[in-house]
């Protein structure tokens, strides 16, 4: 098991090194630069060139890359050009929102998706359960931004149950801030719950046809026990995969949803950094996001091994 994990870790580190290099090159190859963004529309080429020089952006690419790697080796992701603070602090400031939004969205998605997935599998070919896969397909096809705008229209503008945008005023406590997250979390949860529903249903259908399930029924165990204790436990592996990947994606930035709801999360940080060409933030945030992917993938592997002895072997 340890050897398997070590090998996964090495592979993931290689992925991160690749991400770091690729990001560094891509952000500098595309046109546009922070100096132009900072100075505004009316700046002349000379003024932009002068600011580029002051920011060190006129140095050869290799020199800039070497400086970036040297800083990285010291655990320093650099200083944001626009935010006037270290990149790590900027990411840390947004981590709370992103983690809260991700947690809420995943909890909602799992609470909706897993029970409905089980119902759809158990009721396969019968009555109302047949509608669930179709509903899931529709929900999975709805873009989060559309769901978000619709929720804003009806629940925030018309009924005024929720705020439209932001993460609460400065004096707000955690519960009030949570209130600001309910609509965006729902917008994210709906398509993800559909995904979870489909995976749960497929996985359960496969397990429910196994011999040991028939044996359990034959032994006279209640259906609820058979489904929840015997079938669900063995159907968990793909569900864990989809949950893990969803968490990773959301931590990486629910970019569109954060933009629609004006949320200052990591996704928002990355998009505004791209628009402003804030190179250190783009590089740092993508490095942290890829790190999250690495850690979550390894965690998923560990959980696989814990729930499925065949993988451990």
């Amino acid at each position: 098991m340890a050897a398997r994990l070590a090998s996964r870790l090495l592979g993931m580190l290689a992925v991160m090194a690749f991400v770091v290099t690729l990001t560094f090159v891509i952000v500098r190859v595309v046109p546009g630069d922070p100096a132009a963004a900072m100075l505004g529309n009316e700046a002349t080429a000379e003024q932009i060139a002068a600011l580029r020089a002051r920011l060190g952006l006129d140095r050869p690419l290799l020199v800039q890359f070497a400086a970036f790697l040297a800083d990285l080796a010291r655990g320093d992701l650099g200083q944001s050009i626009f935010l006037d603070r270290p990149v790590l602090v900027a990411i840390g400031e947004r981590a709370e929102l992103t983690l809260a939004l991700t947690g809420l969205a995943i909890a909602l998605a799992a609470l909706i998706g897993i029970p409905l997935g089980i119902l759809a599998a158990v009721g396969q070919g019968r009555g109302r359960a047949q509608v669930l896969p179709t509903l899931a397909m529709v929900a999975a096809s709805l873009p989060s931004f559309w769901i978000g705008l619709t929720l804003i229209k009806y629940l925030a503008v018309d009924l005024r149950w929720f705020p439209v945008s932001g993460y609460g005023p400065p004096e707000a406590g955690f519960l009030e801030r949570l209130h600001y997250l309910i609509l965006p979390a729902t917008a994210l949860a709906i398509p993800n719950s559909a995904l979870i529903l489909r995976f749960t249903r497929l996985s359960m259908l496969e397990v429910l046809q196994d011999d040991y399930i028939r044996t359990a029924h034959a032994k006279g165990l209640p259906s609820r026990t058979v489904v929840l204790r015997h079938a669900l436990c063995n159907a968990l592996t793909p569900i864990i995969t989809v949950l893990g990947l969803t968490v990773a994606t959301l931590i990486g930035g629910a970019i569109v949803t954060e933009t629609v709801f004006g949320l200052p999360g990591i996704g928002n940080l990355v998009t505004s950094a791209v628009v402003r060409r804030d190179y250190p933030v783009i590089q740092g945030a993508l490095l942290v996001i890829s790190g999250v992917y690495v850690v979550l993938n390894i965690l998923i592997d560990v959980i696989y091994m814990l729930v499925d002895p065949r993988i451990r072997a």
Binding site: Q47, E171, S272
Partner: protein, 512 residues
């Protein structure tokens, strides 16, 4: 011991979570009156000297002040200056009396030394200041006055000092001399900076020590009162979210809203739409260094090919938001001139003839635009069609605005780009007449006309001289005026005392 990066990240996240988990009562008390403003995005800086970005001006004009400002009729009026300057007979020496007893937000009293240091910084770092710098021989302090000595008469000096972007803001000497952009945001304005959380909010609180200029409020001039406890500016980049935020009552003011949403505000009792002038010129800037558009006949052919009314309708839809007017300045301003030969007279045959005379052989005209400004993109799509109908071969280059700004620096990379100029009360501040600005319009006739305009001090004569510059703009077709446009803003019916101006100001504004 130095914290490692990971430790720093974790520490920041944990502290953040703990702070925000604490009950509201344990944190700061909520102010009793707050105006929430949705802005189009996070400002790139809070130093208004170093950028001409509008969102920076809107926010920072409450914190920082300049020696002069503008009335509603765009006349220059004193702000931190006690009066208009006295000018020597040769037009080269401005003596500016300063108001006394003006306090900075740090409690220090403003002195002539602070003003001199701030003006010197402005000439070093500001795009506006750099226009003045070559003409300024010296800036000196004497008691409560500041003297600016020029090398030659330069009429734009006072409007430059009054602008609130690329602004000649007055900050304490020690901040002005500590490097730019400034790190401490200490001004003399009616509101002071309390907190800036990037991408979340900027909080400005009432400055109790504020010393206001006297006089009836008039545009940006006259008495300024901070009538609410706090102004909060929240970046909301999505325009539809700004609309929803206004309709739900979360925000009390928002601008740059989609023009098609005006009916939602017209039907609301709680929010009112604002379509206020003065309008901004919407333009296609031609590259005079390009092999293709370097030929004036080709640029004239473009002018003949384009029908401005179609372009404006495509861009804005509702005629409330635009004027089919080829003047550089909108109607009602002193610089408006309705002599616009060839404007909005689409004539593909004439265009084809001009192209033939120019020796056009089907070279590609690269027109840059950006979907970040939806109206620009829509206009460019129709412009492409109209140019092609006249015989041009056009390639539309669509990119984000940061890329446009970068690409346009390279004279070999484009022929034309779509743009606009925010309203500037002083014509010489228009980007497209600046020979150093992308497009590089720099002919001897234009340079002479602009020089004569800049040297003339009499406003009526200046208006006449500006007509010469506009005539040359049309003759040489360096920039094609598409028309004049206005933005849609929305304001809560609960706000009282708001005066519509291009950069929305919230002093003298209260909540009913």
């Amino acid at each position: 011991m130095r914290k490692t990066g990971l430790q720093g990240l974790l520490a920041a996240a944990v502290i953040q979570a703990i702070v925000s988990t604490a009950p509201a009562t344990a944190q700061q008390a909520a102010p009793t009156s707050v105006i929430n403003v949705a802005t189009i995005g996070e400002p790139p800086t809070l130093d208004p000297a170093t950028t001409t970005s509008d969102v920076v001006s809107i926010i920072t004009q409450h914190v920082f002040e300049t020696l002069y400002t503008f009335t509603a009729r765009w006349e220059v009026a004193p702000l931190l200056a006690a009066a208009m300057p006295t000018l020597s007979e040769d037009g080269k020496l401005y003596t500016i009396p300063l108001r006394t007893g003006v306090k900075f937000h740090n409690g220090k009293t403003m002195s002539a030394d602070d003003v001199v240091a701030s003006l010197k910084r402005w000439m070093e770092v500001s795009a506006r200041g750099k226009l003045a710098a070559p003409v300024v021989e010296s800036v000196t302090a004497s008691g409560d006055t500041v003297a600016i000595r020029l090398r030659q008469p330069f009429a734009p000096l006072l409007p430059l000092l009054a602008m609130n972007n690329g602004a000649a803001v007055i900050v304490p000497f020690e901040i002005a001399t500590a490097g730019s952009p400034i790190k401490e945001f200490i001004g003399t304005g009616p509101y002071r900076l309390i907190e800036h959380r990037p991408d979340q909010y900027i909080r400005l609180g009432r400055f109790d020590g504020y010393v206001s200029p006297k006089g009836t409020p008039d545009g940006y001039a006259g008495e300024r009162k901070a009538l609410v406890d706090e102004l909060r500016f929240a970046p909301v980049p999505n325009a539809n979210t700004r609309v929803s935020g206004m309709l739900s009552g979360q925000f009390q003011f928002a601008d740059s809203l989609p023009s098609e949403t005006i009916s939602q505000f017209e039907n609301s009792r709680e929010v009112k739409p604002l379509v206020a002038g003065p309008s901004w010129p919407f333009v296609i800037i031609n590259n005079t260094k390009s092999k293709l558009t370097g030929n004036p006949l080709v640029r004239q052919a473009m002018l003949a090919a384009l029908g401005a009314e179609d372009l404006l309708t495509a861009a804005f839809g509702n005629p409330k938001f635009f004027d089919v007017d080829g003047s550089i300045y909108s109607a009602g301003t002193i610089y408006h001139d309705s002599t616009t030969p060839g404007y909005n007279k689409p004539d593909p045959k004439k265009a084809a003839e001009l192209l033939k005379r120019a020796g056009y052989k089907g070279e590609t005209l690269r027109l840059i635009t950006s979907q970040q400004f939806d109206f620009m993109y829509k206009m460019a799509v129709v412009a492409k069609q109209q140019l092609e109908d006249a015989g041009f071969k056009v390639e539309l280059l669509v990119m984000d605005w940061a890329s446009v700004v970068r690409q346009r620096e390279d004279p070999n990379a484009w022929e034309s780009f779509t743009s606009y100029n925010t309203f500037v009360p002083e014509p010489s501040l228009l980007t497209f007449v600046n020979p150093a600005y992308a497009g590089w319009w720099d002919t001897p006739e234009k340079a002479a006309a602009l020089d004569a305009f800049n040297r003339e001090m009499d406003p009526a004569k200046r208006a006449e001289l500006w007509k010469v510059v506009q005539r040359l703009l049309y003759e040489q077709a360096s920039t094609l005026i598409v028309g004049q446009f206005r933005n849609l803003a929305a304001i809560s019916a609960k706000l009282d005392g708001y005066q519509p101006m291009p950069w929305s100001a919230f002093w003298n504004v209260s909540i009913k």
